[in-house]
Symmetry: C2
Subunit: 230 residues, 2 copies
Amino acid sequence: MAEQEPTRRERYRRQTVAEIKAAAMTQLCEGGDETVSLNAIARSMAMSTPALYRYFAGRDELLADLAVDVHLALAGALEAAAGREASSVSRVEAVANAYRDWALAQPHAYHLAYETTYGAAREHAADRIVPAAQRCMNVFLGVVAEAGEPVAAALPAALDKQLRRRHGDQHRIPAAVLHFGLVWWSRLHGLISLELGQHLAATGVDTALLYRTEIDAMLDALRHRCGATA
Amino acid sequence: MAEQEPTRRERYRRQTVAEIKAAAMTQLCEGGDETVSLNAIARSMAMSTPALYRYFAGRDELLADLAVDVHLALAGALEAAAGREASSVSRVEAVANAYRDWALAQPHAYHLAYETTYGAAREHAADRIVPAAQRCMNVFLGVVAEAGEPVAAALPAALDKQLRRRHGDQHRIPAAVLHFGLVWWSRLHGLISLELGQHLAATGVDTALLYRTEIDAMLDALRHRCGATA
DNA sequence: GTCGCTCTGTTAATGATCGTAACTATGCAT
DNA sequence: ATGCATAGTTACGATCATTAACAGAGCGAC
């Protein structure tokens, strides 16, 4: 009931919001979050700047909404990559590769999603951003969980307890897997973050190869082998 | 020759740039790089804004100089932490802990150093930033190198060649150690980066504990044990 | 059909930002 | 003492985000 009521104005509104976000997204992808400007957006839409405030409370909120979209897009890419693979281990590998590929293709978007504080909109938009980011992480955790229990030798009791408490309700993921996924996600992110910040360029190493070795180490651990950490 | 000529004006100049950078640094540490404003700096010094351009080509260059200082300060903290320890393994542990401690104490400074593109000053200031960042990394590589050769089981030939080429001149660090240090540095950074971005807060895990387990895994690998990766 | 409300858009104005231009005064060397 | 590089000023222009005040269109109620 009261569901098939797009009431024309509503339709126009959604359309306008989409157009604003599209313009903002292209600005973001071209020049980074710093360069996205309300004036420029309005100009590109042949609109006056204050009109944008009918759709967004301000620049920070627009950026926060953009961050949500970025997380969702990334999650979609990861899910697609996982869907293309048959074996559970190759799924993990595909997701990890898709993660870096997406980040390199959209560096500014990745930066907005992971390394931006959103200024004042930090906790204001948290309720929107957190679920989007979690959908991203759940893809990774899901494929890791399917790939089997890793060796959970040195999982401290306290951490085990924490991991068991949280996430235990919704998903049936054992704590060891959760820890494994979390750690490896952070490792992949660390490499990508340094690469995007040009901090590995100075060392002269092939970042793709470095990433490759990390993935291999992760896969080794997933295969229950006592693989070398480095 | 011509070395003991501080020539008063020169002294005043150094003093002024120090004051400017100090004001900028406090602004940075309080509100992040976004909030550092030339106007605010000049105001706090009872100076007119355009006067700052006698000392810095613009805002981006000032931020780049600040990034250099941040890297140097971080390097100093790491060196100090290393100096306080006796055993080579405990030195690695101390440096890793100091790394996170420093980042948590100065989150915005860390962010400027590692997750900022410096806009247009990217390659313009690279020659200043890169050495400063490397001094930071060399502390880490140094203590790792002293702690002994890690197991270098799965080091691909191509990566080994790259690592041997670079860095081979100055330092006598074997490629396996270099790779080990680089990877573990990125892993620590990944965890810190996610923590600073509040991405781990949503999961409810104790970030300190998570960091602790990563350090333990690294130390295990350094002790030549075939430790579990996760 | 008309009244009235809400939504959407406008223009105008405020205050902040960085940066440049033109000008003045000071320090310092010749 | 003269002259030049340095360091500072005020004035200005171009952005930017945001708010206020106002005007028209959509749309339901009577």
